[in-house]
């Protein structure tokens, strides 16, 4: 038996074990995963904020130039 096959069998056993959990246990497990996904999303937010700030700065610069031209 290859190592890969053993690994797949262990994974299959693990998955069967998950299916045997009670419904509330499964929901709590999904709840924990949801929180992790939310944390990842929050970790991304500084980059999103930086992009948004750059866009805003660009808009402000254009507006300033336009004002100067208008004057």
């Amino acid at each position: 038996m290859t190592e890969t096959r053993k690994l797949l069998e262990r994974q299959a056993e693990w998955q069967k074990g998950l299916a045997a959990l009670t419904w509330p246990e499964k929901v709590h497990m999904a709840e924990a995963v949801r929180e992790s996904a939310a944390q990842l999303s929050r970790a991304r937010s500084p980059m999103t904020a930086a992009v948004s700030a750059l866009r805003h700065a660009g808009t402000a610069e254009v507006t300033t130039r336009q004002a100067k031209n208008d004057n």
């Binding site: 998950l18 959990l21 419904w23 509330p24 499964k26 497990m29 999904a30 995963v33 949801r34 929180e35």
Partner: protein
């Protein structure tokens, strides 16, 4: 969430509710990842354009605030979805009661979950049908019968050809 839903029904804000979507699926299959909880609701007459307003007000009075298109209840953003077809109406009416840590909670039946997923038809909905079949909580014959009754026989035939037939 279970207490809130039961209280909402007892207060007459909704006439009935039943969990569907991924949280309901987990009653029958292994756990799956999801970002929110979906609840089918029937709203008592008179039904206005602001169908969900009484639900939002009821939740707000108990400290549950809107979060995007959902309402945050404990750890979960909960999406309230009014019944939108004969299929979802039947799913709501025939939902079963399950025990969630000592509190009764209405949950859509596995065959209704599968056929609702078939009617929506995204990749994750197809994965839900396969999960339900694999867990033996519903049979191909049951899904076929229910799908046919709701005008989805052709969609089911396509699904079988794509995912189940060798």
């Amino acid at each position: 969430m279970a207490e809130l839903l039961n209280a909402m029904r007892d207060a007459g804000v909704i006439s009935e509710y039943a969990l569907f979507g991924a949280i309901a699926q987990m009653r029958y299959t292994e756990p799956v990842a999801t970002l929110d909880a979906d609840v089918l609701v029937a709203v008592p007459p008179p039904q206005t354009l602001e169908l969900l307003k009484p639900i939002y007000e009821f939740c707000a009075a108990r400290g549950h605030r809107p979060e995007g298109e959902a309402i945050r209840v404990g750890a979960w953003p909960v999406q309230f979805v009014p019944v939108f077809s004969r299929l979802t109406q039947e799913a709501l009416e025939e939902a079963g009661s399950a025990d969630f840590e000592g509190i009764p909670l209405r949950v859509v039946r596995a065959d209704h979950l599968a056929v609702i997923a078939l009617s929506v038809g995204r990749a994750k909905d197809f994965a839900r049908i396969l999960g339900l079949l694999e867990s033996s909580s519903v049979s191909r014959e049951q899904v076929a019968r229910l799908a046919a009754r709701h005008g989805l026989a052709e969609a089911w035939t396509r699904f079988e050809a794509r995912f189940l037939n060798d």
